[in-house]
Subunit: 374 residues, 2 copies
C-alpha cells in the first residue's frame, strides 16, 4: 500500500461503514501481486497488468512495475483516466472501432503511448488511414485467436495475418501480436491449464513467426490471462504477459483452481435488513452491489450459509435454521466475478484487519467523454 | 420531455455516439408513462413511481405527478440525489438497517418527508428509539409479504404485525403498510397476473384491517409492481401504487406479457469490432454495458441475430451466415433487465428518431456519502 503512512489513523471499522460497499484486504492483495511477480521472475517477460479489473489508480500503482506503466485497459475511458494519472504506456486491448480513433489520437497527442488492437483488414485500413491523415503512426497489435473463444485471427490463417500486417506497416506502426486465452477460464486442473497456456504461447509465437517470415517487424509478443500466467511452464518467445484478476481473485478463479478462497482480497459488505423466517435472512447487498453474471456470490464467515437469489438491492440468504443472525448484523459476500462487481462501486474501503485505513476511488468507470454541460 | 425546447438542435446522430451507450426513445417512454396513468385514472389511487429504475431527475420529472413527488427509492443515495433536485415525498422501500437511520434523519432535517420500511420488531425498536432520541418522528411502513417472495410480515401473522405497529406508534409515526408482488415477475398470462394483483391487494388490505382493528392508524396502503399495476382488476382499499420499470420496459416485462418488444424505450448501442468468422460478429457492448442477471439481451433490427455470450467488454453475436454486417456497424441490444443496465451508465442519450436531442445524467448511482477527500 504505497500511499499509506504509519501516522494514518483508522477512519472507521467494518461495522461503521455504509452498506453495501466493497472492502479490500490490502495484505491479501499485496500477497497476490507478489505471487505473480515471483512466478514471472526469471521468465524473461515483462508484466503488463490489466487495469480493467481495478479501475483505480491506487491499485494500478501497486501492481504496475513503474508509475508510467506498462498497462493494459479495456476502454478508452480507462485509458483517459490512467493517462491523467501519469500512465504513459498503454495497450487498449479490445478491438478498435474506427469511430474511436479520434479519441486514440487525442490521447496520443497528450503524450500517451497508446496502442490499439485489431483483427480485420477493415480495422487495419482505418488505422493506417487515420495515421496517414494525421502523420501520427498509431501502434497496432494484431489479435490472435488462440482457442476459438471470441475474436482474433487464427494463427493458421497466415495470409490474412500478413495482409493485415502489411496494411498496418504501410501507414501505422506494427507492434504485432496479442492473444488472450479466454478459454482458460473454463479449464480445470493443472494439466488442462498448462495445455491452455502452451496453446496460447504457441499460437502467438507462431503468428509472430509468420509475420517475421514475411519481413514484418515483430517487437511485441503479448499473451495473457490470470490462469495461463500462473500455469505456463514455458514462455519462450513471449515478450510480455497481461493479467488482471490475479490482484484480487474471485470465486471463478478459485473454481479454476488458481487460488484458494482465502486468497480472495475483495468482499462486498452488506447489512441484514430482514429475517423473514428461520433459516433465511435478507441483506442490502443485491446485484446492483455484487454481480451474478458468473453465478451467485458466496457467503463468507457464516457456516453453511449460501445465497439463494439476488434482487436489485437484496440478497436472500439461506442460513442454519437455528442461526442467531439478526437485523443489523454485517455479512460479507465473496464475488463470483470481481471485474463487473468493482465496476458497480465508487470506492474501495481498504482494510487492515477490521480497521478501514484508506479509501481508494474507482474512477475509471463508464465510457463516454460526452457528459451533460450543466 | 419536459426540458426540451423547439430551439434545441440535435447534438449528434446515433452513428456519431461513442459506444457502448444507452439510448432512450423519448416518444416510447412518454407513451409508456401515459399508458399507466390512463390505467390508474379512476382507480382512486395515487402513483408513487419507483425512481430506482431510472436514477435520473429528468426521467423522474417526466413520471412524477409533481416535481416534489411522491416517489419511491431503493437506496439512500437515490433519496439524497432526488432530494437535492427538489423531491420532497419519498419512501425508501428497502428494509431499513438501523445504521442508516442517521442518514435518514439528516435528510429529514433538510425538509424531505422520507419514510422507511421494516418488517421486524428489532427495526421497529431502532426506529422508535432514534425518533425518541431526536424528537423527530420517523415515518415507517410495515412491509407485508404478499407472496412469500422475499421479505415482509405475512398478513396472517396478525400478532407480529400489531406488535411492530405498536412499537412504531409509541415512538415514531406509523404510516403503515406496503407490499411488492415480486412473484408477479414469474407469472405468465393475464389470469395469473390478475391473481398476483389480487393477492397483493388482498394481503396489504388485510394487514391494514388488522392494524385498524387494533386501533392503530392506517393512512397509507401501498402496493405495487409493474405487472400488477397493469393487471389489477380491483384496487379497493389501496391508496397508492408503486411501479418503476413501466417507464421503459425490458425483455423480462415483454416475457411476462406486460408490453411488446416495440414498447421497450431503451437500448444499448454498440459497435461491431470483430467478424471472427461468417455467422459471428463481436460488438463492444459487453456485460459492463448491458447486464445479464436476467438472461442475455436481445439483438434489435438484425433479422435472426442473437447474443451467444457476453464478456466484460464484448458481446459475441450469432448472425446469418451470409450477413453483410461489418466492422464499424452499429448494433442495438434490448436489455433483459433494465434497472441494473441503467445503473452501469452515466447518461441517457435521448433520441427523437435517429437524432440525439438531449443528454440526461444518471446521477443517483452508487451508495456512499463517504468519498475520498483528495
Amino acid at each position: 500500500m504505497n500511499d499509506r503512512t504509519a501516522t494514518d489513523a483508522p477512519v472507521a471499522t467494518l461495522g461503521e461503514l455504509d452498506t453495501p460497499c466493497l472492502v479490500l484486504d490490502a495484505e491479501r492483495m499485496e500477497r497476490n501481486i507478489a505471487r505473480l511477480r515471483r512466478r514471472l521472475d526469471g521468465c524473461n517477460v515483462s508484466l503488463r497488468p490489466h487495469l480493467k479489473t481495478a479501475k483505480s489508480i491506487e491499485v494500478a500503482r501497486c501492481v504496475m512495475t513503474s508509475p508510467a506503466g506498462p498497462a493494459t485497459v479495456s476502454t478508452l475511458e480507462e485509458a483517459t483516466q490512467f493517462a491523467a494519472a501519469g500512465v504513459r504506456d498503454i495497450i487498449y486491448a479490445v478491438g478498435i472501432a474506427p469511430s474511436k480513433l479520434a479519441r486514440v489520437l487525442r490521447l496520443r497527442a497528450e503524450g500517451v503511448d497508446l496502442a490499439v488492437v485489431l483483427d480485420t483488414v477493415e480495422q487495419a485500413k482505418a488505422v493506417a488511414r487515420a495515421s496517414l491523415e494525421t502523420g501520427v503512426r498509431i501502434p497496432a497489435l494484431i489479435e490472435i485467436d488462440c482457442d476459438g473463444h471470441r475474436s482474433g485471427v487464427p494463427p493458421a490463417d497466415g495470409s490474412r495475418l500478413v495482409e493485415i500486417g502489411r496494411i498496418i506497416e504501410r501507414g501505422a506502426e506494427l507492434r504485432v501480436v496479442l492473444t488472450h486465452a479466454g478459454g482458460s477460464y473454463s479449464a480445470r486442473g493443472v494439466d488442462a491449464l498448462r495445455q491452455c497456456a502452451e496453446a496460447e504461447r504457441a499460437s502467438v509465437v507462431a503468428a509472430a513467426n509468420i509475420l517475421r517470415e514475411a519481413d514484418l517487424p515483430c517487437p511485441v509478443v503479448s499473451a495473457g490471462s490470470t490462469p495461463t500466467a500462473h500455469n505456463a511452464a514455458n514462455l519462450t518467445g513471449v515478450t510480455e504477459v497481461r493479467a488482471g484478476v490475479f490482484v484480487f481473485f474471485d470465486l471463478v478463479m478459485a473454481g479454476v483452481g488458481i487460488c484458494g478462497i482465502e486468497d480472495i482480497a475483495l468482499s462486498v459488505l452488506g447489512t441484514v435488513i430482514s429475517r423473514p423466517k428461520p433459516g433465511l435472512c435478507v441483506t442490502d447487498s443485491g446485484h446492483k452491489a455484487c454481480t451474478q453474471d458468473h453465478g451467485n456470490p458466496g457467503v463468507r464467515d457464516v457456516a453453511g450459509a449460501s445465497v439463494l437469489f439476488l434482487s436489485d438491492e437484496h440478497a436472500t440468504i439461506s442460513i442454519a435454521a437455528d442461526s442467531q443472525v439478526k437485523v443489523g448484523d454485517r455479512i460479507l459476500l465473496w464475488p463470483s466475478h470481481i471485474d463487473p462487481t468493482i465496476n458497480l462501486h465508487d470506492v474501495f474501503y481498504v482494510l487492515d484487519g477490521e480497521a478501514v485505513v484508506d479509501t481508494w476511488p474507482i474512477t475509471a468507470r463508464g465510457y463516454s467523454e460526452q457528459r451533460r454541460k450543466e
